[in-house]
């Protein structure tokens, strides 16, 4: 079984030049950075807040905060990783405001029964996603990932959906590398387990009616 192919990240050679120009007051250069990353920031924000309006606010607030604090970006990490850190914090603030009854923290380390390996593992159908329409599949995937604790969901989205490396994810979330790895493993296993309800291979003659 081969390893998962990592996403190829965009070339960053000219990125520092754009950041330098933006620091010097070139709003056009900053606009280019917005153009490069707005989709990613929106997706991350929507995954964390689970709310479209909040995600729109997060995109604006995160880029404005980045612009106002460009002087603090020293170029030790990639601009994108630095931006993601700002966006994740903005998104978590939104989530806390919306759900004040439940403290939301990235340090949250949730133990659940789903962590252990089940004794009977049902295999999936080949190409299970093709059993559903695109709209149905989207609904299943959204509902499934929304069931994860925010700390797991965020790590999974940065690593596996956005393609950040373990080190970049740790940097963006201010977590240790072992903490990222442990959350990622559990997020992946929990999603797999939950998706099995939809994708499980059905015995012949036992077709879904």
């Amino acid at each position: 079984m081969s390893a998962i192919q990592q996403k190829v990240s965009e070339p960053v050679s000219d990125e520092l030049a754009l950041v330098q120009a933006a620091k010097g007051g070139d709003v056009g250069a900053f606009e280019e950075l917005v153009r490069r990353y707005d989709r990613n920031v929106f997706r991350i924000a929507q995954h964390i807040t689970q709310n479209r309006e909040d995600a729109e606010d997060v995109v604006q607030d995160a880029f404005l905060k980045a612009y106002s604090n460009l002087e603090q970006f020293q170029g030790q990490s990639k601009f994108y990783t630095w931006l993601v850190r700002i966006a994740v914090n903005e998104a978590l603030m939104k989530l806390r405001r919306r759900r004040p009854e439940r403290m939301v923290s990235l340090d949250e380390d949730v133990k659940t029964d789903e962590d252990s390996l089940p004794r009977e593992v049902a295999d999936w159908s080949p190409n299970p996603e093709q059993q559903y329409s695109q709209a149905e599949l989207r609904e299943i995937l959204t509902r499934t990932i929304q069931g994860l604790p925010p700390s797991f969901r965020t790590v999974f989205v940065l690593r596996d959906v956005e393609g950040l490396s373990t080190e970049e994810t740790a940097d963006a979330l201010e977590l240790s590398i072992p903490a990222v790895k442990s959350r990622l493993l559990r997020a992946r296993l929990q999603l797999r387990d939950r998706l099995s309800r939809y994708f499980q291979k059905r015995e012949s003659g036992d077709g879904k009616q």
Binding site: D38, Q46, N69, L137, L141
Partner: protein
């Protein structure tokens, strides 16, 4: 190798960040343990399905609106001076 040990290494294995010896031990285990094979295979599919799913796309009109709001606020801040937050 026990199933629990396999599970601990699953993320490193799927990410391809594992030394050759551990990799061959994991693959020996996969060859005879059907449960772990299925968990490994379907976890990989889980990741691929999410990666390819394009959940939450940003529509072009919304994108344009957000970008022009950001740019005009940046310009306002520039005029107000660099220390304004």
């Amino acid at each position: 190798m026990k199933c629990s040990e396999f599970l601990q290494e699953l993320t490193n294995y799927l990410d391809g960040v594992i030394d050759a010896r551990t990799k061959s031990e994991l693959e020996d285990h996969l060859a005879w343990c059907h449960n772990c094979y299925v968990v490994c295979d379907t976890t990989k599919k889980t990741i691929e399905i999410y990666r390819d799913s394009q959940l939450y796309p940003l529509p072009e009109d919304l994108r344009t609106r957000l970008r022009s709001a950001i740019v005009s606020k940046c310009q306002a801040r520039k005029k107000a001076g660099p220390k304004q937050v």
